[in-house]
Structures are given as C-alpha cells and as structure tokens.
C-alpha cells in the first residue's frame, strides 16, 4: 500500500520518540511465544519488564485463562529458570473458582516448589503485594489474580508498569471477575482475551467418546502496544505441549493418539 507509507513512517517516528521519553534502562528484549501469527501481532514477542493483562472471554472461561496465565508465566520465566513464580490471589477468587492445586501445576510444567503463593484479602491488598513483589529482584514472574477490578485503574496499572520495569520482571494481571475486554483502560503492554478451545482429542481404546488431549486455548490479542497499527485480531487456537506454546492449526493431531490402537483397522473398528 504505497499511499499508507508516509503515515506509517511518521507514526514510527512518533513511536520512537515516545519510546525515548518512556525509555527505561535495560531490558528491551522480547520473548517470542513461538506461535507465528501471535508473535506478528506482538511485534516479535512479549517484553519482560512490562504489564500484561489476561481476561477470560466469556463466563466459564476463567479456568482456561488461569492455565494460560500459568503457562505464560512459566514461558516468560524460562530465561531465569531457578527464580520462583509469585502467584498472588484474592481470597474471593479462590472461593469462586477454587484454589490453585499443586499436583495439577506439576502437570502443566510448573514445579509447585518454585511457586510462592500469596493470599490477599482484597483486590487492593493483592495489587499492593504485586507491586511489592515486582520491586524485589527475586521473582522470575509475578502473577496476580484479582476478582474485583474496581481498584484497578490507569494509575494502578501505571504503578505496576513502573515497578515491573525496575528489574525487568514480567507482570501478569489476571482479571478473573471481568469477561471480555470492553471497558478496560490501563497502562498495560498487552491484553490477552482467552477462551477455552477443544483440545486435540485422542482416540479412546475402550469407548466411542475420545480422550481429552493437551490444554488448548483460543487467544485473542485485544491490545498490543508495540504491535502493528490497526490491530484487529481474531481468536487464534494455541496448544500447550511440553512446556511450550504450539500453533493449534499446525499441530499434528494424529501424532498424539496416546493409548489409542495403532492399527488403522482397529481404529475403524472402535469407531474413532
């Protein structure tokens, strides 16, 4: 599009200027998710010392968003493998959706021993704890789950961004009481909208109904500060296998037929 070029150029110039004003020392490195369509929208990946928001798309998608938050924390922490993940949870969220369960985390590739779990009585306390955790150089990633998003506003998010920049620690804010990304305005770098997605099913040896497979989500990037202009992305399916993200569209479904019968004839016989 030759006509769009001058606009783009001046926009890039402005962006560079703003980046200069906002510039913080140190980390500008981006961690790619290794899912090509998403990385394109994120202009290469996620910045470490920045705030990323995660919201569920519809009521009932909160567990999916939870597991995405955990997966993202584990992914972003990969650079500092030994540093612990700090998970801050508002008590009410744990009542509503259940508390984090250690044995299940191990399954998702997160060592429960490396998790510091903080129970905050209110959203205000949770946000305070998040800022405090970000100011410390110890954590590898800080995830905060708040149910009541009333206390979370532009000022609060800006404080969190500044705290996250200090030691370049990824800050993930999971708003579990909010569905959809309608009326949110914040200083966050990225906002993910998460939806549950049918997992790549595996044929069952004994039954007609298949077995559930690896965790999968539909991810929409609702906001990306550094992303291409005029971002209007759609949901993109992603699978989480062996502690990394995979594009579900290119995921070989047949390759993971776990304990299904090996022979083509048998499979047909079982109706898979």
């Amino acid at each position: 599009m030759p006509r769009a070029q001058p606009h783009l150029a001046s926009l890039h110039l402005l962006r560079a200027e703003i980046a200069g004003i906002e510039s913080m020392p140190g980390e500008t490195r981006r961690i790619p998710l290794r899912v090509a369509p998403l990385d394109r929208q994120l202009a290469g990946g996620l910045k470490l010392g920045a705030l990323h928001e995660i919201v569920a798309s519809r009521p009932g998608d909160q567990p999916a968003a939870t597991s995405f938050a955990l997966a993202l924390a584990a992914h972003l922490r990969a650079a500092r493998r030994r540093a612990p993940i700090v998970w801050i949870g508002e008590d009410f969220a744990a009542c509503e959706q259940g508390a984090l369960y250690g044995p299940g985390l191990a399954l998702h590739g997160i060592d429960p021993a490396s998790l510091l779990l903080i129970h905050a009585a209110s959203a205000k306390e949770a946000l305070w704890a998040m800022e405090e955790a970000l100011k410390s150089p110890a954590p590898g990633a800080v995830v905060c789950e708040i149910f009541t998003a009333k206390t979370y506003d532009l000022t609060a998010s800006r404080r969190l961004v500044l705290a996250a920049q200090k030691h370049a620690i990824p800050a993930l804010l999971f708003l579990s009481g909010v569905t959809g990304t309608g009326a949110l305005s914040s200083g966050a770098d990225t906002r993910f909208e998460i939806r549950a997605h049918p997992s790549p099913h595996q044929a069952s040896a004994a039954r007609r109904i298949p077995l559930p497979g690896f965790p999968a989500w539909s991810i929409r990037i609702a906001k990306a500060r550094a992303g291409p202009i005029g971002l209007n992305s759609d949901f993109h399916p992603v699978v989480w296998t062996e502690a990394s993200f995979r594009d579900a569209l290119s995921f070989p479904l047949a390759a993971h037929s776990g304990d299904g019968p090996d022979h083509q004839e048998d499979r047909r016989a079982f109706g898979a």
């Binding site: 997966a71 030994r82 704890a129 410390s136 939806r195 049918p198 109904i209 559930p212 539909s218």
Partner: protein, 457 residues
C-alpha cells in the same frame, strides 16, 4: 467492716459489686505497663505486681527514685500504689504492705528491717496465724528468735519455709508474664512522641542498636516485638516474625513500617498507633534469636535467596506470615490432602525441588480445586458409566471427550469416605472439568451422587 457499719459512718457511701474479671484485667494491664522498668514483671494476684529490678535501678537514678517514679506515675493514672523493695520477693511483698520504711537498702541486716513486721506479712493461712497469735507470737522477730524444731512441730512446715524464703535462705523465683527477650534496645523520651514519622525514626535507631548487640553475639532475630509505652499508661505491642535470622536494621525498620501501615489501613478500635497523649518509652526486643554468622558479601552474584526472604518478610509483615505460602506436595492420594499450603517463612526454599514425574506416569489433576466438591446433576447412558451431559452452576455441559475413571478409595484406616471414581470431562466448548462419582454402584450405596471437584484448562 460490715457494709451496714460503713453506711452508718458515711451515709452517702457508693457501693459496687466487685468485678473480679475486670480487676484481674486491670492488674494485668498494670503489669504490662510496669515492664517499662524491667522486662521481668510478674503478676502477683490478687493485688500486686512483682518486678525484678536487678541491674535496672541505675537507669532511673537509683532504687529510691525508681520506687518514687513508679508510685507517682501510677498515681497520675489514678491508682494508689505502695511500692516496696527488698532482697527477696517475699521481703518486698511484706515491706510494701506493712513496712514503715519500704525501701531496704542492700547490705543491711535483714532482721532489723523485717523483724518488726507483723506475722501477717508471711502470707500464712488464717488458722496458723490465729494459733500463732494465741501463742503470743505477733512479729517476725518473735518467731526468728525461738528454736525451729518445736515451732515447726506445732505450726507446720509452712512457717519456716516462708521465713527462709523471705531471708533469702531458699530461692523463690518469680514467673514473668512475658518471656524475657534475648536482646532488647530501648529509648526513653522526656517529651512524649506521637507522630508516625518520629516513631519510625525511633524504630530505626532502636534497630541499629539491636543490630549491634546481635552482631556481637553472632545472632539474628526471628521474632521481634516493639512495645510502645504511652504516658496514659496504655502499652501497645507490635510483633513481627521473619523467615530467617535477621539483623539488618533497615530491614527490621521496614518490617515495622509495613506492620504500622497495615494497622492504619484497618482503622479498628484498637489502633496500635493511636498515640493518645504520646509514647515516652519505646522498646524493641528480639524474643527469639538464631545463630547468624557474618557472611562475606558476594559481589559477583548477589544472593537470590536473600532477596526472596526479604520479599517474604515484607509481604508477611503486612498481610500476615500465614498468607505468604508455599505449596508442599504430600504423599497421599486423597486429592484434598495431596497438597498443603505451608507458611513460606517456616520452610526454607527446597534445594532440590521434588522431581517432576515423567510425562507418561503423571496422573491427571486439575489446576484449580474447588474448596469443597459441588453436587452436579448428570445423565449417563449406563448407571455406572461416565456421564453424557451434566449441569453445574445452572449451566448444561455436553461432554465431547472424557477420560477415566480413576478410582480413588479412601485411606484404609479411615472408614468414612466413599470410594470416588474421577473423570476428566471436556465439554463442546473445550472447558475441562474434574468430576467424580461418590460411592460404588450397588455395593457402597444405592444411588451414587456426582460432584464437581476441579477445573482444568
């Protein structure tokens, strides 16, 4: 004196019923307040406070001044107090109540001071006192100058036991109301302080003093207590725990900063920083200490555990140390008991984290476990088969994929819970649930019920 007699003398006498509980509480509060003079303050029910001021008197300009200060300060609060000082608790008790001169200087002949006191000062039973009076013995010296054996035979062993205790021939310890801190630092102010900033400055100064003491002994504090003595007689205590032995004064000050912040946020009736008329004594004490050797600073790689411990302490000071937790996997198969939240301050970061099981042998477990299983309505094609659809929290879910059952029986030594068959079900949208059927069909119960227990991604 009977009440009628008293009324006859003074017609407009006010009468109240004695409130033993309130009196005990007041006495306890006075005991706490008395800790400003010495950390060893014991409750001496029903009407006394016993202080061990060994080595503390010089801070107040001598014993006489200390007694005078205690009496005047209590008088200012509206209490009438009589203070007595002696070489043993019993002597002090007797002098305070019956002594003409209540301060017995060191090195004096105890007989001269204690001898003229009445025998009531020995705290003997009424009956023994009456018998002694019948025998014409009224003062302590009357008993002391007589031979022991016949008196013991007649009045019992308690008499001379008490006398020996009073004259220091037998040791009777006092039991302080609070444990004696290992180290303490304190400041006294001529002019009471009340502003938050001033108090925090004072805390930092105290922490520096405490740190010097701790450093000299190669120890670090695990439990700290800050006592604020108000001039109105109220004493406020603020405690702080740490996740590791701590000596850095700035860290200590910061812990108390968080505590004060948290206390101010609550705005309760009993605000610890409601200074009232101000505080005139601040004391920072290390209640329990652990060995902490001086470490060589590591320039190249700052200690990561140190940073984490700092974070745990800071969060714990504000939110409470029980709210900052780590997950400890426990080797039990009953899902509710397989994991526990343990306070992070109590457990050291595991040097070798539990090895993750290899992917093949992993059990399927949810990432969120509901606090208690929630009953669901299910429709299954066969009675003991997996469900086809179910309703949870008023939403109908159609099952697209299911894995299970994984049978989890209750532990054999308990016979309470029914056997559970767990399924991992995925609905058409891709939401995944951890369901179970409680009870074996027709062997444990007639109609097994279904429950929702956890959520996956």
């Amino acid at each position: 004196m009977a009440l009628a007699d008293a009324r006859a003398i003074l017609p407009d006498l006010h009468c109240f019923t004695a409130d033993a509980a309130a009196e005990a509480a007041t006495l306890a509060a006075i005991t706490d307040w008395c800790r400003r003079f010495t950390p060893l303050a014991a409750l001496d029910a029903p009407d006394g406070v016993m202080l061990d001021i060994t080595g503390a008197a010089h801070l107040f300009g001598g014993e006489a001044k200390l007694l005078a200060e205690a009496e005047t300060r209590l008088a200012a609060q509206g209490f009438t107090a009589r203070a007595g000082l002696g070489p043993t608790p019993e002597a002090a008790w007797a002098l305070a109540r019956f002594g003409q001169k209540r301060l017995m200087p060191e090195g004096e002949d105890p007989l001269r001071w204690l001898g003229p006191l009445p025998l009531v000062a020995l705290r003997l039973e009424e009956q023994i006192l009456a018998e002694l009076a019948q025998a014409g013995l009224r003062r302590i010296e009357d008993v002391l100058l007589r031979p022991r054996a016949p008196l013991t035979a007649r009045f019992g062993i308690a008499l001379f036991e008490r006398l020996d205790a009073m004259f220091g021939r037998a040791k009777t310890p006092i039991s302080p109301r609070f444990e004696v801190p290992s180290y303490l630092a304190e400041r006294r102010y001529g002019e009471p302080i009340s502003r938050r900033e001033t108090i925090e400055m004072a805390i930092l100064a105290l922490a520096q003093e405490l740190a010097r003491l701790l450093l000299r002994h190669g120890e670090g504090a695990r439990r700290l207590d800050l006592s604020l003595y108000g001039i109105d007689g109220r004493v406020r205590h603020i405690g702080a725990g740490t996740s590791r032995p701590l000596r850095d004064p700035r860290m200590i000050a910061r812990l108390f900063h968080e505590k004060l912040e948290a206390a101010c946020a609550i705005e309760s009736e009993d605000d610890p920083l409601d200074a009232g008329f101000g505080f005139d004594v601040l004391r920072l004490s290390a209640l329990s200490v652990e060995c902490l050797d001086e470490e060589q600073a590591n320039w190249i790689r700052p200690d990561e555990n140190q940073d984490l411990a700092d974070l745990i302490d800071r969060l714990g000071a504000r939110l409470g140390l029980r709210r900052v937790t780590r997950l400890a996997l426990i080797d039990r198969h009953w899902p509710e008991f397989a994991v526990a939240c343990v306070p992070a301050a109590q457990t050291l970061p595991a040097p070798h984290p539990n090895p993750l099981p290899a992917s093949g042998e992993r059990e399927l477990r949810p990432i969120r476990l509901l606090t208690r299983p929630e009953p669901i309505e299910t429709i299954a094609s066969v009675p003991d088969g997996p469900p086809v659809r179910f309703r949870w929290r008023r939403v109908l879910h159609e099952i697209a994929a299911i894995e299970g059952p994984e049978r989890i029986a209750s532990e054999w030594w308990k016979n309470v819970d029914l056997t559970r068959d767990y399924f991992c079900a995925e609905d058409l949208e891709g939401r995944r649930f951890w369901l179970f059927r409680e009870g074996l069909y027709e062997t444990e119960c007639a109609r097994p019920r279904w429950f929702m227990h956890g959520l996956f991604a």
